[in-house]
């Protein structure tokens, strides 16, 4: 299935991507599986998702946990804890 992924703030800088359109293998159906899939891209991706830093995820503009299901056409976003206000 095909999804859009957005990256924000320090995460955007660490992977050097702000957005991408990605075709996922059929076994990638959750946020955890997507993180594992992206970690295969190289060291900076693996470091991002190795659990040592907090990476929040949203699907279609709603904050979700790692068990959340991903569906075709979803907009998935990865970002650090928020610091506005």
């Amino acid at each position: 299935m095909n999804i859009n992924i957005l990256y924000f703030a320090r995460i955007k800088e660490s992977v050097n991507y702000s957005s991408e359109n990605l075709d996922l293998p059929s076994d990638v159906k959750t946020v955890t599986a997507l993180k594992n899939h992206l970690s295969l891209r190289g060291e900076n991706w693996a470091n991002l998702f190795n659990g040592k830093q907090v990476v929040r995820a949203a699907i279609n503009h709603t904050l979700v946990d790692d068990l959340a299901a991903i569906n075709a056409g979803d907009e998935v976003a990865f970002f650090p804890p928020v610091t506005g206000g």
Binding site: A9, P81, G85
Partner: protein, 141 residues
């Protein structure tokens, strides 16, 4: 300069049932963690920000008897003394507006997708989220 803004009702209206208007303005400090701040740049996730602010205002309206609310949050590059955020709430009596205004700020700081990056004489750095902000939010559970 762009703005992320949401209002559930015009707080400046002249409804005669309004007895209180409470507002909060946050502004850029010139020092943070011992370093002087030259500029502060705010990034956001526009569609999710809009949804988050709408949700926070709606929750404030469920919890307190407020009449209107307004949130304006700036994004882009700011300098010390610039205003970052405005929250304004109206109600019949002050207690509800004070509480709702503080609630909206506490939730905004921990739930709305904005990120701050500081530029100091030592270079640029992303601001880390603070545990004290999580604690401030947890008071409202």
């Amino acid at each position: 300069m762009r703005l992320a803004e949401h209002a559930n009702q015009d707080v400046a209206n002249n409804a005669s049932n309004i007895g209180a208007l409470v507002s909060f303005v946050g502004q850029v400090r010139d020092m943070n963690d011992g370093d002087s701040i030259n500029t502060l740049t705010l990034e956001h996730y526009p569609e999710m920000t809009e949804k988050a602010l709408l949700g926070i205002e709606s929750e404030a309206k469920n919890r307190w008897d407020i009449i209107g609310s307004l949130i304006i949050h700036r994004v882009g590059t700011l300098k010390p003394l610039d205003q970052i955020v405005l929250v304004a709430v109206t109600s019949a009596h002050r207690g509800e507006a004070f509480k709702a205004c503080e609630f909206i700020m506490d939730y905004l700081k921990t739930s709305a997708p904005f990120w701050k990056k500081e530029s100091t004489n030592q270079g640029e750095r992303w601001v880390d989220a603070k545990l004290s902000d999580d604690a401030a939010k947890a008071r409202w559970k």
